[in-house]
Structure formats: C-alpha cells, structure tokens
C-alpha cells in the first residue's frame, strides 16, 4: 500500500516538526474551501501580507466536504491546531454546503472538548475570496493561540 506508507511518512514528518523546543513552532492544518477561503488565502499571498508560516493548507471543494474524522485524524497525526474555513453562510458556491458544515462542526467542537481536547485548538471561520486581510488575521491569531497552548501531545501520544 504505497498510499498508506506515504501517509505514515508524512505523519512522522509532522510529528517530528512539532517536538517542543525553544524555537518550537506549532503545526496547524487548515481545510479551506476551494471557492472562498482558498482564494482568500491566495489573495493574502498575492497581496504580500505578512503571516506566520504555521498553517498547512488542504484544499477541499466545500466546507461541507470536511468529514469530522479529518479533524480527529489531523490531531492524531500530530497537528497542534486545526482550522476549517469556508464561504460565509449564505454565500456557499453550492448554496447550502456550509450550513450543513456549520451544524456538524458545532457538534464536533463540543464533542472534542468533551473528549478532553482543548477547544481553542480547533477553529472555524468564514472567509471570502476578497478577504485576504481577514485570512492573514485568522492565521496570525490561531498561530499565536496554539503557540501559547504548546504542543498538542494528547491525541498523537495516546
């Protein structure tokens, strides 16, 4: 299974990156919808806005595509924080995808907290294609929050 070997290797790389130290930097996995937030992140980049390099972006068709398992898996494989961002409610490219996502992620957030995972490590945002500045702010704020919290060892080290 070449695919799963590659996944294991990536997981090890992510895990080794998040080993604590003086110059420790958190690893944050971001699931961005193709239509708004990914383009928003792109516009932050082309606008040359300064943002921390802690966020690893995974592009998904819609925030409704984000299976809650992705988020738990990211934590298991060594992510210190997870971010999901989609179009603003009402602006979904597929009309209603982010409304479904909102319900699901609302329940998920409460559940992660219940399982003993700090809820500040998981954030959901709505960011449109033109909101490059907002994206930069989101990245800055979550990076600072997660850095202050320290490495998330709980799930990965279970």
């Amino acid at each position: 299974m070449a695919g799963s070997q590659a996944t294991e290797r990536q997981a090890r790389e992510v895990a080794s990156e998040s080993r604590p130290g003086a110059d420790w930097e958190p690893v944050i996995v971001a699931f961005l919808c193709n239509w708004c937030s990914y383009a928003g992140a792109d516009s932050a980049g082309t606008g040359r806005m300064v943002q921390p390099a802690n966020v690893r972006i995974i592009r998904v068709p819609c925030s409704g595509r984000v299976n809650p398992r992705f988020i738990v898996r990211a934590f298991q494989r060594g992510a210190d924080g997870v971010l999901v961002s989609g179009c603003h409610p009402g602006d979904c490219h597929y009309s209603t995808g982010n409304f479904y996502a909102r319900r699901r992620l609302l329940v998920l957030k409460s559940y992660l907290e219940y399982l003993g995972i700090d809820p500040r490590r998981f954030e959901t945002h709505w960011c449109s294609a033109s909101e490059g500045q907002k994206w930069a702010d989101i990245v800055r704020s979550i990076s600072e929050t997660v850095k202050a919290l320290g490495p998330a060892q709980t799930l990965a080290g279970l």
């Binding site: 398992r69 329940v107 998920l108 219940y114 399982l115 003993g116 990965a156 279970l158």
Partner: protein
C-alpha cells in the same frame, strides 16, 4: 421511570402473538415471521418462524431485550413479506431502519405489543434459581433489574405497527436527562481525557456495539473499508479512539438511545457516555426535544438559518 412488570398480560401477549403469527403464516400474509425463541440458556434468541407450527415456538417475556429490527437486513434479498414483533423501543429501532430507507415498509407486517418494562437478561440469569423464578413468574423485580433504557423510556407503545396486541399502556412524557454527561462535563479536560483513555484501552474492538446498533445499518461500513483506511488495524488507544469517534459520530442524531451498545459490550465500556453527549448537544443546540425518536430528516441532515454561528468561537 421503570414500569411495573405485568406477568399476566405478558403471558396473554405471548399466546396472542403465537396465534397472530400462526394466522399470518397460514393465510400467506407473510412467508416468515421474525420473533424470539428460547435459547439454550433460557434467554431469548432471534428466531425466523417459517411454518405455522414453528409459530408455537415464539416467546414473549420480560427478557426480550434486544431489538429485532436489524435482523431484517438479513432478509433484504427477495420479495417475500416478513412479519416482525416489536415493543416500544423495538419499534423505534424498526422506525430507524425504515426512515433510513433500508427496508421497504410494504414488505413488512408489524405486530406491536405495548411494553411494561424489560429486565436485563444478564442480571436475571445471574440470580439464584428461586429468586429468578420469583422475578419471571411472580413479576417481583427490583428497580436495578430493569434495563437502563426503561429509566428514560418515553415510548412504551409501538410507534409503528399493523396489529396491536393488548391495550396501550399509559404513556407519560419523560424528560430526557443525561446525568452522566453532566457529571463528566463538570470534570476538567485532563480528567475527562484520562477517563476516556481508560475506556479506549479497555476496548478489544469486537464490534459488538456496531453490530447490534439499529442506526449502524449502512450497506458498507466505513470501518470495514481498506481504502480509505479510516481506522488503522493496529490495536491501541489511539486507533480505538478513532473507532469510537467514528461509531458515535455516525449515529449522532440517529441514535435511538436504546443502550444496546452498552449492554452487549464484552468489556463493559459505558458507551452511552459517548452517545448521550450528542443527544444532549443536539437537543440543546438545535432545540430538538426528543432527539432519540427517528425523524424524517435527521438533525444533522438539515440546517436552520438561525443555527448558532461558530466563527472564531472558543
């Protein structure tokens, strides 16, 4: 509240059930009737009666705890009509399968029996012989002998049926409370994490909880899939966490709160701690009063514009 066992009515119901099943099998309304028969150790086991004579083997007593609805999935192939007997919670399980469009209603003939409470078979079996007789024949059961779900049951009468045997029992609303979840929520995140870690470490992944669950009725279970490999094959708390997360999240909003997963768990993991959290959250966040009762559209399969927003929520 646990309901009072009524042995006399149960006996009459068993007679009426056998007669009804015999009638259905004789006049060809159904080609097979799904009920319980007595197993080798005295506990009821699932039983497909295929001839009028076999209908005489059907039993109805306070130990028919497990719901039969999931056995219908074994009869998906073919066109034959299937008869099934359900009590209150059994009918919720059946309704779950029907609302999930997993078995056609036209191929079903449902015999409903109002429920006066069920006993935990394991606990009854563990009693000394004399006491067990007193419980089963005299109906003198202490509150601790009842199934946990009888404590929060608000559907003693079947919600789906074609024929009802006996009179409906008084059906008073029971406020759905989740005391164990509230208790856990009051703990610190670290304590909770350690608590759940202990449960994952205990799990041997026998899949009994998935197999018994009427809401776990997918054609192909994602836990069995190789690609994508959602849950690693190695055993360990980390993979067990993924297993229990997947299982609980996939039945979130569809769980009928029958507590069968917890009852059949071979290592005694209190699985309802995980399921109840979703039921509690769904009722609080989306205002669903009876989240365990199957609805046409499940709570997580719909949305409302006024749902709480979670942008940047901490």
């Amino acid at each position: 509240m646990p309901r009072k066992l009524d042995v006399k009515t149960l006996g009459q119901a068993q007679g009426a059930l056998r007669a009804e099943a015999r009638r259905l099998l004789t006049d060809g309304t159904v080609s097979v009737f799904l009920g319980h028969e007595e197993g080798w150790d005295g506990l009821p086991v699932a039983f497909f009666a295929a001839t009028p004579e076999e209908a005489g083997r059907l039993v109805w007593n306070p130990l028919v705890a497990f719901n039969l609805a999931k056995y219908l999935l074994d009869r998906l192939a073919g066109e034959e009509k299937v008869g099934i007997v359900v009590n209150g919670c059994g009918s919720l399980a059946l309704d779950r399968i029907l609302k999930d469009h997993r078995f056609p209603r036209e191929r079903l003939y449902v015999v409903g029996i109002p429920c006066t409470g069920l006993l935990d078979p394991e606990k009854v079996l563990a009693l000394p012989d004399e006491e067990r007789e007193r419980v089963l024949e005299g109906g003198e059961a202490g509150e601790d002998l009842y199934l946990k779900r009888c404590g929060w049951c608000d559907a003693p009468n079947p919600v789906v049926y074609d024929t009802l045997i006996g009179d409906p029992v008084p059906d008073e609303p029971v406020a759905q409370e989740y005391p164990r979840v509230v208790e856990l929520e009051a703990m610190t995140p670290e304590e909770r994490f350690e608590h759940f870690k202990g449960l994952y470490e205990k799990c041997i992944r026998c899949f009994a909880c998935r197999n018994v669950c009427p809401a776990c009725n997918c054609r192909e279970c994602s836990l069995d899939q190789w690609e994508p490999l959602w849950m690693g094959r190695s055993t360990g708390a980390s993979e067990q966490l993924m297993y229990h997360f997947i299982r609980a999240f996939d039945v979130a909003g569809r769980c009928i709160r029958c507590g069968e997963c917890e009852r059949v768990c071979s290592v005694g993991i209190p699985l309802m701690e995980l399921n109840d959290k979703f039921l509690k959250d769904i009722s609080e966040l989306f205002g669903v009063k009876r989240p365990h009762v199957p609805a046409d559209i499940e709570p997580l399969g719909q949305f409302a514009l006024e749902d709480p927003d979670l942008e940047g929520a901490v």
